[in-house]
Symmetry: C2
Subunit: 68 residues, 2 copies
């Protein structure tokens, strides 16, 4: 397991938190995901053997946000 | 039918638009509802004989927004 903090632009409200946490959390290999709306960050704990960081970033972008 | 423009604070993203338009639009007597995110307004067309403006305001506030 590895935990990474991503800087994500465009998350503005509780719906955005739910969209990111809900959809990233559904990915196989993702153990935990936590959005900090004030900081604009997403902490993700995941198993690199199961899911890539690239796939996680892609999922966030599919929800309509920019990952820096 | 009457159309009223409400000033609503706190709507920030497409999810907020969907929450307001979807839930207000479900009320009996509401014919049309349109959020303008940039202006912070909600245009509602409704039948005063079926639904009150107070009930519409309440529904928006239940979604977590402040109606001025």
């Amino acid at each position: 397991m590895e935990t990474t903090t991503l800087n994500v632009k465009g998350m503005t409200c509780g719906h955005c938190v739910a969209a990111v946490e809900g959809n990233v959390g559904k990915l196989d290999g993702v153990n935990a995901v936590k959005v900090d709306l004030g900081k604009g960050t997403v902490d993700v704990t995941f198993d690199q053997g199961v899911v890539s960081l690239a796939a996680i970033r892609e999922e966030i972008e599919e929800q309509g946000y920019d990952v820096e």
